[in-house]
Amino acid sequence: MSTEVESGDGVHPGKPVIVDRYTVAARINHWITAVSLVLLALSGLALFTPALYFLTGLFGGGPTTRMIHPWIGVVLFLSFMGLFIRFFRLNLWERTDNVWMSRLRDVLAGDEEKLPEVGKYNAGQKMVFWSMSLLILVLITSGVVIWDQYFSNYFTIEQKRIAVLVHSITAIVAICVWIVHVYAAIWVRGTISAMTRGRVTGGWAWRHHRKWLRDLVTTKH
């Protein structure tokens, strides 16, 4: 079985132990994706429901919101492709992930000692990764169909009706997945530094990603 370690990962013994989790490039890539996703959610919700139309004010009014939203979508798509290429290998599903998923009760209670040892990503993170991959693919595809400024002549009105419905539903699901992602990062303390400074403590890695830490210790030294 392949190792859970990626090229940028590393361990620095000490008190506490420091573990490198994300390279500068991966972090920049992540934050471009994150900012685009938030801007897309705000501009998209503004056009989705009249109750949130006031959000168009953040983008300089209705017409600019309508104009800019698809372009941010293109940025997100390209940026997420970068993340996909970086992260997909260690997000491949494994048998132990099924065990993890079947014990969600322990996961939610924070009883990680009762769960199998986790590699760089746990099953929940993998679910977020794969669902976002799929959702973004559906969003960019349906988004092009309703991008009237450039593509209005390539699709029928009936196709556009279906695309706009699919686009809205998919976007809602993506926002829900995003809430899970952000909440998990907040709930599991010590996680956010992985995406800001690129590092976590050894205790964090031991507690949440023990297999990753073990592989790191054996391969990097």
Partner: protein, 312 residues
């Protein structure tokens, strides 16, 4: 002959309807007026149309529009479709009537039908960009339009067009500015055969009955009034020789209604979607409240130190 709307006085006076007469306003709610104005309607009698296009010209002229010079591909339709500048278009169909063996030239003046239940307005996300007056006129308010094209998806008749110049949606206004001061629409005014007449919806229905009786007496046994109930009736109606087959008139929809896909998008999806987002956020909040933060313990750090000991 139907008595046309007389020329009103040229003395300036107040508009006969305005903001206070809105019964629907896109992406917002309005307090409906206590009293609805008499519903108006334009009746287009296809059997009387000679295809002169005076209505098209009058529309361009009154609304100060210019259409590009097109290309003749051997049909009379000019331009080939509705455009942001062509809000009304004569569509010519050569129909071979199998029963009589006659070749019938069916000429339908296409344009906004001013639905009582307007799909464009339902789909529009910009507050106040599409309005419906209590007399039935559906109008686009261009300074509020954001050019998203949702009205195109909402419309069951494929009418609105988005301008490539200013990215705003355009369609027939039923000459809202003329009607407000007591004039008939420009197309009606220009029609030389009274194929287009304008008045109250009731008057138009009565006049249509009279016309349908006449057509029936001439052998058009399926003659009838096109006032589709699927959109709760329209304020532009047709007298058709073959009301049983509206689709032969250049694809006039048979029993049109707002697409169920649009209804689902603007209805259940909106409410279910916002509820789902709220629920996910609430569950996260509650979970944190009940279980508290998932913190790394001193024991965890010790274990990590033990694991890495002597490895550096």
């Amino acid at each position: 002959m139907f008595t046309p709307v007389p020329n009103p006085t040229t003395n300036p006076g107040p508009a006969k309807f305005g903001e206070q007469d809105l019964i629907r306003r896109s992406a917002s709610t309005v307090t409906p007026p206590a009293k609805r104005q008499t519903e108006v309607a334009k009746l287009i009698d296809v059997s009387k149309c000679i295809g002169c296009k005076a209505c098209q010209v009058a529309c361009l002229e009154w609304n100060n529009l210019t259409e590009e010079v097109g290309i003749n591909v051997g049909v009379y339709d000019n331009p080939h479709d509705l455009t942001p500048n062509t809000w009304t278009l004569m569509r010519y169909t050569e129909y071979e009537n199998a029963e009589t063996g006659n070749l019938e030239w069916l000429i339908r003046k296409d344009g906004c039908m001013h639905c009582e239940d307007p799909g464009c307005l339902k789909a529009c996300p910009a507050p106040g960009a599409i309005v419906q007056y209590s007399n039935g006129i559906v109008d686009f308010v261009h300074d509020k339009c954001i050019g998203c094209g949702y009205c195109v998806k909402g419309c069951p008749f494929n009418i609105p067009r988005i301008s490539k110049v200013d990215a705003k949606a355009y369609k027939c206004t039923l000459c809202v500015d003329r009607v407000a001061v007591g004039q008939g629409p420009a197309c009606q005014k220009a029609c030389p055969t009274q194929a287009i007449v304008f008045g109250t919806k009731d008057e138009m229905k009565q006049w249509a009955d009279h016309r349908i009786k006449d057509l029936k007496s001439r052998g058009f046994k399926n003659a009838g009034l096109y006032d589709p109930p699927g959109v709760k009736g329209t304020h532009v109606m047709y007298v058709l020789q073959h009301n049983d087959k509206p689709q032969i008139y250049a694809g006039l929809p048979n029993n049109p209604s707002i697409s169920p896909v649009v209804e689902l998008w603007k209805g259940a999806t909106k409410y279910a979607g916002l509820t789902a987002i709220g629920a996910f956020a609430a569950i996260g909040f509650l979970h944190h409240l009940l279980t508290g933060a998932n913190r790394v313990s001193a024991e965890d750090e010790k274990n990590a130190e033990r694991l890495t000991e002597g490895r550096s």
